[in-house]
């Protein structure tokens, strides 16, 4: 069951997790918007430690201005659900 719906505002978790992750550093701590639901896919962070578990993956759109302080483009990054939290209001 997907926790987030398309249109929801989310924040990529800040900080530096132990071990492997597919959460790119450049979006950590930044807020974005869910723009697509990719379905459930095996979470690589756990798979590399031997635990096979699928989790929803979302396309999350970030404004370049938020990521880099400049730029008018958007960057859409595919993120597993546990990389995300609800955006602060």
């Amino acid at each position: 069951m997907a926790r987030f719906a398309v249109g929801a505002r989310v924040r990529a978790r800040p900080g530096d997790p132990d071990g492997h992750t597919r959460l790119p550093r450049y979006v950590r701590g930044h807020q974005g918007e869910i723009v697509d639901d990719h379905g459930s896919w095996q979470l690589p962070d756990e798979a590399l430690r031997g635990t096979i578990r699928a989790e929803p993956v979302y396309a999350v759109r970030f404004a370049a201005r938020d990521l880099w302080g400049a730029g008018s483009h958007s960057v859409i990054v595919d993120l597993w659900e546990s990389y995300l939290e609800e955006a602060a209001q």
Binding site: H38, G39, W68, S74
Partner: protein, 197 residues
């Protein structure tokens, strides 16, 4: 596979690992080459070009491609398999007069190999991966693609199990062309988003 990787320390590490498993009698150079060759035997940008040409020629197909890339690719006989039964979700994104899409993989080199063939070495370079998310307009200009200032740019970072295919805007002078002729206009770079079509 690419000149770029050959310059990286990781290439030397991979070669050392290959030497170890070959010395242990677990595989051979020929077997490793065959695995890679098998992966690339059917993958070609001609496959992606057929999808784009059909989308240009048939609005119904275009809508199905944008809604469910895997199902639309299957209509033309293409499975979205990365080899070894390892599948991916295919998401097609459409360029319009107002919006331009470009694909990157900042973490490594994820790429729809079955539809575009082997990725170009620049796609795997640190420069392309780091700069495209930061200053796509400048990167595209270096590829010779000067976009109007008002064109919105969407950069898709394929960081998970979805692979992206850009559907370029149909060239203005292509009216009346048959689907085969349309397909011959479509380039690999157009489907990555670093060329107009």
């Amino acid at each position: 596979m690419s000149g770029d990787h050959g310059e990286l320390p990781v290439a030397a590490r991979v070669r050392q690992l290959e030497d170890q498993v070959i010395a242990a009698g677990l595989t051979t150079d020929a077997e490793l080459d065959e695995i890679l060759a098998g992966r690339y035997r059917t993958g070609s940008p001609a496959n992606g070009a057929r999808l784009v040409a059909r989308a240009w020629a048939d609005a119904g197909f275009r809508d199905r491609l944008l809604a469910d890339g895997n199902a639309a690719a299957a209509e033309l006989g293409f499975g979205a398999s990365g080899g070894g039964g390892y599948g991916y979700r295919l998401k097609a994104v459409q360029n319009t007069a107002q919006r331009h899409n470009v694909i990157v993989c900042t973490l490594c080199s994820c790429y729809p190999t079955s539809l575009l063939g082997p990725s170009p070495s620049w796609y795997k370079s640190f420069a392309y991966r780091s700069r495209t998310v930061r200053e796509p307009r400048a990167v595209l200009a270096e590829f010779g693609l000067e976009l109007p200032a008002e064109t919105e740019i969407l950069v898709w970072d394929s960081s998970a199990e979805t692979r992206y295919l850009v559907v370029p805007a149909r060239p203005a002078d292509s009216a009346g062309l048959a689907e085969d002729a349309l397909a011959s206009l479509v380039t690999r770079d157009g489907m990555i988003g670093t060329a107009a079509f």
